[in-house]
């Protein structure tokens, strides 16, 4: 148990002393997860909105499928993406394996179901009368959707934070697709994995503390921004 205290001390040390490697890894974690959530959100929020606002045959089934994929095992996704982007796979020519882009792809796929499903959930939570109010106020279809999305903004941001959390704390796909290459694709989670393997428990915990701190800061910032608007 004293490891936890030691880890706390070391974490603070690493941050305060601006340890170059830790900073690099942390920034990379942040950048990759942020890119993942942005890309995924650009796609999933509109798609979630589309699914919510339209009725079509198999809508219920689609939503069920999306929810099933909430629990996509990360290693499975990692493996499948690996097969695609390996140089001997169909997308091999893009030279994506063992690059940060590969990790982003894996994470985007992982968080897409959560983002889409929770966007649908967020929109479902908006009272039906909001749409009528918007439309009868003279909103076009697109403007009405915007109004509803805006009404649901707290829940949608909640979904984004969840997605970001899932992305930044993900190990399996990051390892398999990034290769944990020092200075290039090593992120906090894969570094923790490595240090644990190496038996350096304290450093692993310290990195873990840093990881949680980053997630917390991001969440707080997003909430503050939300309150403003």
């Amino acid at each position: 148990m004293q490891e936890i205290w030691q880890a706390l001390v070391q974490a603070v040390n690493l941050i305060v002393s601006l340890d170059a490697e830790v900073i690099q890894i942390s920034l990379r974690s942040l950048y990759i997860s942020a890119a993942s959530i942005v890309i995924a959100a650009l796609f999933c929020v509109p798609v979630g909105a589309l699914i919510h606002f339209h009725d079509f045959r198999g809508k219920r089934v689609t939503i069920n499928v999306i929810q099933t994929f909430y629990s996509l095992p990360t290693v499975v996704v990692g493996l499948l993406v690996f097969l695609f982007i390996s140089r001997s796979g169909p997308l091999g020519g893009l030279e994506l394996l063992f690059t940060p882009a590969a990790i982003i792809i894996g994470q985007v796929i992982l968080i897409m179901p959560v983002l889409t499903g929770m966007t649908i959930g967020a929109l479902s939570g908006v009272d039906k009368s909001i749409r009528d109010t918007a439309i009868s106020s003279g909103a076009s279809s697109a403007q009405a959707m915007k109004a509803i999305l805006f009404e649901a903004r707290f829940a949608v941001v909640g979904a984004l934070i969840l997605g970001f959390g899932r992305a930044i704390s993900e190990v399996g796909a990051a390892l398999m697709l990034g290769g944990n290459i020092r200075g290039y694709t090593r992120v906090l989670t894969t570094a923790i994995s490595l240090e644990t393997q190496r038996g350096d428990i304290v450093l692993s915990l310290a990195l873990g503390i840093i990881l949680i701190s980053i997630a917390m800061v991001v969440s707080v910032i997003m909430n503050i921004l939300l309150q403003r608007y």
Partner: protein, 337 residues
């Protein structure tokens, strides 16, 4: 109910989004194309494949990828060598850390351009199948069998094959007292272990099924050592990783002598003729030759002395390896063309 109608704005929206998705992915961390350096001895036919590398959106230093075994990695040797090579060859050296089995698989798929492993049998097969080429050896060390200081199976000092036989019998008889942690991951160490079982006259399949005393961990060398330490089990480990973990584990070396313990580290380039997507043969050649160079061999001779009192690896240069099974002279002195 209405059928799905993609209304006007969405018709545009969705394709634009997908384009953004794709574009963002590619731009976000696109690896610069791994084009070979300009001066190349490649036949002209390769030019097409060189240009075929797509999306050199961010032109930068080419990236040379190798897969290396865990035992080399865990000792930190690569951390040391990596910046040196990057400077020398003006490439980015990406080191992917995997067991021998996985490393060779990456090689077969062309996801790496060279592999550094220590499994002669697997390597021979790799080369025979045409995947690997220009194999050279550059370092060696030994395995050892470690275990609890109390040595409940009483194997201290025995030859490795006999020790294994004894472990097998003792473990089957009383798995709570005698346990063995196997790498279980097709690594070089695992292959060596299997060889020793064979030498002990046992069928490996039987060993695997013989009882809970035999634990297939499926992990790297370091984690397996930690596991052995936790469980008071016996384990086959390479000396360098063992030393690097000495302070963290409480298993002790019990057997350090044995011909079968020789552990040679080899480097192989991926053969572009067999693996169409491997393009960095010239860099691999530079890499291989560099490993055999005086510069690196000297480093290998002293790496770890300060911390552990003895080097973790032994250079091959200068004929340091004299045991049976040591690589032939040409395997570690003749540069690759």
């Amino acid at each position: 109910m209405k059928t799905l109608k993609i209304k006007g704005i969405h018709r545009v929206f969705i394709p634009v989004l997908m384009a953004c998705l794709l574009l963002g992915t590619i731009l976000a961390g696109c690896a610069p194309a791994a084009t070979p350096p300009a001066a190349t001895g490649q036949p002209a036919a390769d030019n097409k494949s060189a240009q075929a590398t797509a999306f050199p959106v961010i032109p930068g230093t080419p990236r040379f990828k190798i897969a290396t075994t865990t035992s080399l990695y865990d000792t930190g040797l690569w951390n040391y060598l990596e910046p040196m090579f990057e400077k020398k060859a003006n490439v980015k050296l990406d080191i992917v850390y995997a067991g021998t089995g996985a490393a060779l698989e990456y090689g077969r798929r062309g996801d790496v351009d060279a592999v550094v492993v220590h499994d002669p049998e697997a390597e021979a097969k790799f080369i025979a199948e045409g995947y690997g080429t220009n194999k050279r050896s550059f370092a060696f060390n030994h395995f050892l069998i470690a275990g609890p200081a109390s040595d409940p199976a009483g194997i201290k000092g025995l030859p490795p094959e006999q020790a294994f036989k004894k472990l097998y019998e003792a473990g089957k008889a009383d798995p709570t007292k005698v346990k063995f942690i196997s790498r279980g991951d097709n690594s070089g160490t695992h292959s060596k272990e299997k060889l020793i079982w064979q030498a002990a006259g046992l069928n490996y399949g039987d060993v695997q099924k013989s009882g809970p005393w035999y634990v297939e961990a499926g992990k790297g060398m370091g984690p397996c050592l930690l596991m052995a330490s936790e469980q008071g089990a016996y384990i086959l480990a390479d000396i360098s990783t063992f030393l690097a973990f000495k302070g963290k584990v409480n298993v002790v070396p019990l057997i350090e002598q044995g011909d079968l313990f020789l552990n040679v580290y080899d480097v192989m380039a991926i053969n572009p003729e067999k693996v169409k997507t491997a393009k960095m043969l010239p860099t691999a050649t530079t890499f291989t030759n560099w490993l055999m160079s005086d510069e690196v061999q000297d480093i290998i001779a002293t790496y770890g002395v300060a911390e552990y009192g003895r080097p973790l690896f032994n250079p091959l240069k200068g004929g340091g390896c004299t045991e049976p099974g040591c690589p032939k002279l040409e395997d570690y002195t003749v540069p690759v063309k």
